[in-house]
C-alpha cells in the first residue's frame, strides 16, 4: 500500500517498505541487501557512471544503476540474477584492466574500495590484457598529489569539489577511453583555484589522490643530533588519530597521542590548542576593536588555510573582512622559534617545528612566503593524521595499549575553548566565551553555546553580549561559505562575526583525516571534540595561564607591536 511518503516494493522477493524517493540502493540496504558500488559516495549526489551497482528492474532491460534509480510502488528488483552478476563482474573487470596492479605499493593499500570489490567479487583472472595509462603525476603543490594512472573515472572528486566545496577545480577532459579528470587545460593544481582542502582525497575510492608525504623530512629531523624537534598537534588530531590507528570512529585519545609522539623521538610535544587560545585573545580583541572603532564588519575568521585561499581567489575584494590573525598553526610556529627559543635558550635555527594537522592545506600554508616572521620558516613540516598513523605503524607503536601522558609546558597548556576549534562553530563558541568577558567584564554563565554546534551548513545566531546584540554566522564546507560571502558582497550580511571552516564539519573532517571520512564519521568526531571540551578544567581561552604568561613575558598586550609582527598576517588577491 502506498501511503503519502512510503513505497512498498520487492527486492529479491523480499517485501520492503521504504521512504518514497529512496534509491534502490537505499531500499536494498533496508532489506538487508548490500549492493556493490564504486562511483557512489554517501555524501555526494552520484552520477551513476561506474555501472557496478546495476540491478534488474521489473525484469526489464537495460539494467539500472541502483545508486540513482528511484523506487516505485510494486517495483520488483533483482540484485543477484546471473545477468546482473555477469554485468557487474564485467564492468569491474573492465575497470581493473585499466588500473595499475601494484596494490602493494599504493598509499591506499587495504583502504581501497576497488580492491575491496575485487576481493568480494573474487576476481581471479581479468578477461582483458592489463592496459595502464601513462600520465604524469601532479605533485606541483605542497599539499595534494594526483596520480591519474590510478584514476578510475568515477568522478567522485569532481562532485566533492563542486558539491561540498563549490570550487570546481576538477573536471573531465577528453573523450571515451582517453577521458581524464583534472583541472582545465590539464593545468597543475598549483596553477588553478584549488584550495588544497583535500576533500577530493576523501572522495577518491582508490589511490589517485593523496596527501604529499612529508614523513621523510620528519624522520630526518628526528635523527639529526643538532635538531630540537617540537611538535604541535591540532585540536582535531586527538579525535582522528585513534581512528587512524584502528580504534573506533570518534575515539578520543589525547594522552595516547602525546605518548605516541614521544615514542617517535621528538623533543617536545606541544599543542596547537595553546595557540588556539591565543588566537581567541588576539581575534577577540580585533573584533572588539572593529566593532567599537568602526572597522570592516563582518569580521571573518582566518584559521582555515583552504578557506583563506578560496577567499583570495573568489572574493579578493572582501579580504579586508578577514581577521588579520594567523592561524593557530602559524602562531605556534612563529612563537616556537622566538618565545620558546628564548625561553629554552635554543638557537631558533636548530628548532624544527612539526605540525600534526588534519589538513592538507596546512602544508601549503606553512610554505606561504608570509610565514617567516620568526626569521626562519616558522613551521618546518606539516604531517597529516594519516602520515602520523603511517609512521606509528611502521615503528610498531601499539597505539591502543599506550599509557596516557601530558603535553609539555608551556606551549602545551590549553583550555576546552582551544579544543573545540576542531569542529565547525568551535572558533565562534570559543570567541564568544571570551568576548563576553572582554566586553562586559563578567564571565558567561552558560558556556555551552549550542547554536554554534552541529552540521547545519550555515548557522546563524544573535548572542547578547552586554548591551550589544552580537550577530554571528557560521559556515563549514566552502559551498556553504560561498552563500555567506555572496551575501557579504551584496551588503546583505548583517553580522558582526562570521566563522568559516573550509571542510565540512570543520577540521575534524579535514583532508588529512582518516579514510574514510563521511558525514557520519564527522558527526562522531565532533561529539568527541565536545567531550574533550567538557573534560577540561578550564574552558575559556582567557583563563589559560600560559597564554597570560606569554603576554606578560613576551608579547606585551593583545594587538601590540610584537603580536602584530608575529601573530598577524596579510592576504594576497589571487586570480581565478
Amino acid at each position: 500500500m502506498e501511503n503519502n511518503n512510503k513505497v512498498t516494493l520487492k527486492i529479491n522477493g523480499i517485501q520492503v517498505t521504504v521512504p518514497a524517493g529512496s534509491t534502490i540502493l537505499e531500499a536494498a540496504k533496508i532489506a538487508g541487501i548490500n549492493i556493490p558500488t564504486l562511483c557512489h559516495h554517501p555524501d555526494l549526489e552520484t552520477s551513476g557512471v561506474c555501472r557496478v551497482c546495476v540491478v534488474e528492474v521489473n525484469k526489464g532491460r537495460p539494467l539500472q544503476a541502483a545508486c540513482v534509480y528511484k523506487v516505485a510502488e510494486d517495483m520488483e528488483v533483482e540484485t543477484a540474477t546471473p545477468v546482473v552478476r555477469e554485468a557487474r563482474r564485467l564492468n569491474l573487470e573492465l575497470i581493473l584492466s585499466r588500473h595499475p596492479q601494484d596494490c602493494l605499493s599504493c598509499v591506499r593499500n587495504q583502504k581501497c574500495e576497488l580492491q575491496d570489490l575485487a576481493e568480494s567479487f573474487h576476481i581471479e583472472e581479468i578477461s582483458f590484457p592489463i592496459k595502464g595509462k601513462a600520465y604524469e603525476k601532479d605533485d606541483s603543490n605542497p599539499s595534494v598529489v594526483r596520480d591519474q594512472e590510478k584514476c578510475i573515472l568515477c568522478r567522485r572528486c569532481i562532485e566533492a569539489c563542486i558539491q561540498l566545496q563549490g570550487v570546481e577545480a576538477l573536471g573531465v577532459a577528453n573523450r571515451g577511453a582517453d577521458s581524464t579528470v583534472g583541472p582545465f587545460f590539464n593545468k597543475p593544481l598549483q596553477d588553478v583555484v584549488c584550495t588544497f582542502c583535500g576533500q577530493c582525497i576523501h572522495a577518491c575510492p582508490v589511490g589517485a589522490i593523496y596527501e604529499k608525504d612529508d614523513t621523510a623530512r620528519f624522520w630526518e629531523a628526528v635523527a639529526a643530533p643538532n635538531k630540537h624537534v617540537v611538535v604541535q598537534t591540532a585540536p582535531a588530531i586527538r579525535v582522528g588519530l585513534a581512528e587512524e590507528m584502528g580504534m573506533g570512529v570518534g575515539s578520543l585519545a589525547t594522552g595516547k597521542m602525546v605518548t605516541a609522539l614521544r615514542r617517535l623521538g621528538v623533543d617536545r610535544v606541544f599543542d596547537t590548542d595553546f595557540t588556539a587560545d591565543l588566537t581567541i585573545i588576539e581575534e577577540g580583541s580585533e573584533l572588539v576593536e572593529r566593532v567599537t572603532g568602526g572597522g570592516t564588519l563582518p569580521m571573518i575568521t582566518s584559521c582555515s588555510p583552504g578557506w583563506i585561499k578560496f577567499c583570495e581567489h573568489y572574493y579578493p575584494d572582501l579580504l579586508d573582512h578577514l581577521s588579520t590573525c594567523k592561524s593557530p598553526q602559524q602562531m605556534f610556529g612563529a612563537l616556537a622559534k622566538t618565545y620558546y627559543a628564548e625561553k629554552s635558550g635554543i638557537n631558533p635555527k636548530d628548532i624544527f617545528v612539526v605540525s600534526i594537522m588534519p589538513c592538507t592545506a596546512k602544508k601549503f600554508e606553512a610554505t606561504r612566503p608570509e610565514m617567516h616572521d620568526s626569521g626562519h620558516q616558522d613551521v618546518d613540516v606539516v604531517l597529516t593524521t594519516r602520515e602520523l598513523g603511517r609512521m606509528l605503524r611502521e615503528v610498531g607503536v601499539q597505539f591502543a595499549e599506550l599509557p596516557e601522558e601530558e603535553f609539555d609546558k608551556p606551549l602545551g597548556i590549553s583550555t576546552g575553548a582551544g579544543a573545540i576549534f576542531g569542529a565547525t562553530g568551535g572558533v565562534m563558541e570559543a570567541a564568544l566565551r571570551t568576548a563576553y568577558v572582554l566586553v562586559t567584564g563578567q564571565e558567561l554563565e552558560e558556556i555551552n553555546l549550542y547554536d554554534c554546534r552541529g552540521l547545519t551548513g550555515v548557522k546563524e545566531a544573535v548572542v547578547p553580549v552586554g548591551d550589544l546584540e552580537v550577530k554571528i554566522a557560521i559556515a563549514h564546507g566552502l559551498a556553504n561559505a560561498r552563500k555567506l560571502m555572496d551575501m557579504v558582497r551584496k551588503g546583505e550580511a548583517d553580522y558582526h562575526f562570521i566563522e568559516i571552516m573550509a571542510c565540512p564539519g570543520g577540521c575534524i573532517g579535514g583532508g588529512g583525516q582518516p579514510v574514510p571520512t563521511t558525514m557520519a564519521s564527522r558527526d562522531k568526531r565532533i561529539a568527541a571534540i565536545y567531550r574533550e571540551d567538557e573534560r577540561m578544567v578550564l574552558r575559556k581561552s582567557h583563563e589559560n595561564e600560559a597564554v597570560k604568561a606569554l603576554y606578560d613575558e613576551f608579547l606585551g598586550k593583545p594587538l601590540g607591536e610584537k603580536s602584530h609582527h608575529l601573530l598577524h598576517t596579510k592576504y594576497i588577491p589571487r586570480e581565478l
Binding site: R51, P62, L63, N91, S97, G171, G176
Partner: protein, 542 residues
C-alpha cells in the same frame, strides 16, 4: 504577379554546393542576361533534390527536366539550346555518352516510387522565401492548431496518428508530449545534431524546407505549453544554420513566431544553438547539457527531460523529421497519416542511401517498404556487377543484415525483431568486395572516438572490442575471443548509461550472428574471404 515562361531550380543542398552549384548558378544568371532572358526565366535556389550522387543538379520547369552533373562549361549550352531553342541537352539528362552521370531520361530513378510528405517542398520551393512555403499551404496547420484546437487535442491527434520519433529511438511522439510535466516554464528542443554516419536527412530538410520544421516546433510548443524553442544544429551544418536563421527572421517578421501568434494568445520563439561536433550530443540529455553550456554528456534517466530537462524545466526534445511531420498530421488528420506505412510504424520515412549502391541520395517512402525494393528499385541496385553483401540499417549504431533478409520490411518493430533498428533512416549498402571484420573495425573505431567516456561499459568496452577485432584481422585471435566479443557487446547493451552505449554494440552482435562463418574463416583458416585483411591469406590462395 510576375509571369515567367521557365523556372530553373538550382539545387543548393550541400553536395551540390560543394560540387559547384553556386558557380553554375552565377554563370546561368549571366548567360540569361546576355540572352536578354532575365525577365522571362527565373532562377530559384532550392534544397536538396535527392540524387546527390550526380550533383550538381538543376531542374527546368515546366518541362521538369533534370540536368545532372552540370559543370560551369555546360551552362552556355543549356541556355542556348534548351532555353532559347527549346531543345533539351540530352547528354546532360539521359544516359550520356561520357558515362559521367547515370540517370534515366528526365526524372532520375531514385525519385520514382517515392511518397513525399516531409520532403514535399524540398527541391520545389526556395527555402529562403517564406512566401513560397506559405504558397504551398505552409503555416496553415499552425493556424488550425492555434485557433481551432486545444493543446490536448493537438496531442491527441498526434498520439492517434501513431507518429514515432524519427531520430532513432522511435518513441511515440504524442505520448512523449503527453508525459510533459506541468510547469510555468517549459522548453521545446528540436534535435538537429544529426551525427549518425551516413545520415543527412535532417540537414536536407533544414536546407530545403526550414519553415516546415519551425511550424512543427510551434505546434509542438503549443501542444506541450512551451514558449521557448531551441533548435540544436550541428556545427558542420553551416548552410542549415544560415537558412534556419533566415527562416526564423522571416517568420518573426510575419508574426508566425513571437508574441501572440495569430492573435491566439500563444507566444513561441525559436533560437538556434550550434553544436561542436560530438556525436553524443545527439542524445537528448547530452544535448540539453550542451545547451546549458556544460560538457555534452548524457544524464542518467529517469528523470526524463519531460520532467527535468533544460535548466531543470520540463522539456520536450524531438527530431527534425518528427517535427516536420507534425504540420501534415494536424492539417490532414491522424487517419490520413495512418493510411500510410504500417500499423506499427505509420507514415513515411526519409532514408539516406550510401555505400555500394547506384543511386546514392535521399528518398522518402512509406514505412514497410522492403530493403530489397529500396536497394533494387529506388537505389538502382549494386553497381559495377558486384553482388549485395550487407545492409546496415539505422546508421552505425544499427544492425547489419545479410542477403537472406532483403525482404525485411522497413518498420521499427520488424527491424527490431532481427536485431537491427530503423534508427535515423541511414542505409549503408556494402557489396561483396568488403570484409565484414574490416567493416566492423570501421564502425568500432567510430564509437571508440565518440564514446563520451562517462560510463564504464561504453568507455572501456568499446576499445576492448576494437582490440579483439584487430586481433582477428591480425590472425592472432582464438575462437573464444568471439565469445568475449559477444559478452562485451551484450554487456554494453544492457548496462550502459545511455542510448549510445546501448546501441553501438548492435553491429557487433548482428555481424557475429549473421556472418559467423566469415569470422571463423579469419580465426580458424587464417583467411580473409574478401581479401581485405592484409595480414591474412587472400581468398583462393591456400
Amino acid at each position: 504577379m510576375e509571369f515567367y515562361r521557365n523556372h530553373i531550380l538550382v539545387c543548393t543542398g550541400e553536395p551540390c554546393v560543394l560540387k559547384g552549384a553556386l558557380e553554375v548558378e552565377s554563370i546561368l544568371l549571366t548567360e540569361l542576361q546576355k540572352q536578354g532572358l532575365e525577365n522571362e526565366i527565373r532562377v530559384i535556389r532550392t534544397g536538396c533534390l535527392g540524387p546527390c550522387n550526380v550533383a550538381p543538379v538543376l531542374v527546368v520547369y515546366p518541362e521538369g527536366i533534370y540536368y545532372s552533373g552540370v559543370k560551369p562549361g555546360d551552362v552556355q549550352e543549356i541556355v542556348a539550346e534548351h532555353l532559347v531553342k527549346g531543345r533539351p541537352v540530352t547528354r546532360l539528362v539521359g544516359t550520356d555518352v561520357e558515362k559521367r552521370v547515370d540517370v534515366v531520361y528526365q526524372v532520375p530513378q531514385i525519385l520514382t516510387g517515392q511518397e513525399r510528405v516531409v520532403l514535399r517542398n524540398c527541391g520545389i520551393i526556395n527555402p529562403d522565401e517564406i512566401v513560397e512555403y506559405i504558397g504551398r499551404g505552409g503555416y496553415e496547420a499552425l493556424g488550425k492548431a492555434l485557433i481551432h484546437l486545444k493543446p490536448e487535442e493537438v496531442i491527441e491527434e498526434v498520439k492517434s496518428s501513431g507518429l514515432r520519433g524519427r531520430g532513432g529511438a522511435a518513441f511515440p511522439t504524442g505520448l512523449k508530449w503527453s508525459f510533459t510535466a506541468s510547469g510555468e516554464e517549459k522548453y521545446l528542443i528540436c534535435n538537429a545534431d544529426e551525427g549518425e554516419p551516413g545520415t543527412f536527412k535532417d540537414r536536407l530538410i533544414l536546407e530545403g524546407d526550414p519553415h516546415a520544421v519551425l511550424e512543427g516546433m510551434a505546434i509542438a510548443g503549443y501542444a506541450v505549453g512551451a514558449e521557448h524553442g531551441f533548435i540544436y544544429i550541428r556545427g558542420e551544418y553551416t548552410l542549415s544554420i544560415e537558412r534556419v536563421q533566415r527562416a526564423i527572421d522571416q517568420a518573426r517578421k510575419l508574426g508566425l513566431l513571437g508574441k501572440n501568434i495569430f492573435d491566439s494568445g500563444f507566444s513561441f520563439d525559436v533560437e538556434i544553438r550550434v553544436g561542436a561536433g560530438a556525436y553524443i550530443c545527439g542524445e537528448e540529455l547530452a544535448l540539453i547539457e550542451s545547451i546549458e553550456g556544460k560538457r555534452g554528456e548524457p544524464r542518467y534517466k529517469p528523470p526524463y527531460p519531460g520532467q527535468t530537462g533544460l535548466w531543470g524545466k520540463p522539456t520536450v526534445v524531438n527530431n527534425v523529421e518528427t517535427l516536420a511531420n507534425v504540420p501534415h498530421i494536424i492539417e490532414q488528420g491522424a487517419e490520413w497519416y495512418k493510411s500510410i506505412g504500417t500499423p506499427g510504424s505509420p507514415g513515411t520515412k526519409v532514408f539516406t542511401l550510401t555505400g555500394n549502391i547506384k543511386n546514392e541520395g535521399l528518398i522518402e517512402v512509406p514505412m514497410g517498404i522492403t530493403l530489397r525494393e529500396i536497394i533494387y528499385q529506388l537505389g538502382g541496385g549494386i553497381p559495377d556487377g558486384h553482388s549485395f553483401k550487407m545492409a546496415q540499417t539505422g546508421g552505425t549504431a544499427g544492425g547489419c543484415l545479410p542477403p537472406e533478409m532483403l525482404d525485411v520490411p522497413m518498420d521499427y518493430d520488424e527491424l527490431a525483431k532481427v536485431g537491427s533498428a530503423l534508427g535515423s533512416g541511414a542505409l549503408l549498402i556494402m557489396d561483396d568486395r568488403h570484409c565484414i571484420v574490416d567493416l566492423l573495425k570501421c564502425f568500432m573505431r567510430f564509437f571508440n572516438h565518440e564514446s563520451c567516456g562517462k560510463c564504464t561499459p561504453c568507455r572501456e568496452g568499446t576499445p576492448r572490442l576494437l582490440e579483439l577485432i584487430e586481433k582477428i584481422m591480425d590472425g592472432t585471435a582464438v575462437k573464444a575471443d568471439l565469445d568475449l566479443m559477444a559478452k562485451l557487446a551484450e554487456n554494453m547493451e544492457i548496462s550502459s548509461l545511455c542510448g549510445l552505449g546501448q546501441s553501438s554494440p548492435k553491429p557487433v552482435l548482428t555481424l557475429l550472428e549473421y556472418y559467423q562463418h566469415e569470422f571463423l574463416a579469419h580465426i580458424e583458416d587464417k583467411k580473409c574471404p574478401a581479401g581485405v585483411c592484409k595480414k591474412l591469406q587472400v581468398k583462393g590462395v591456400v
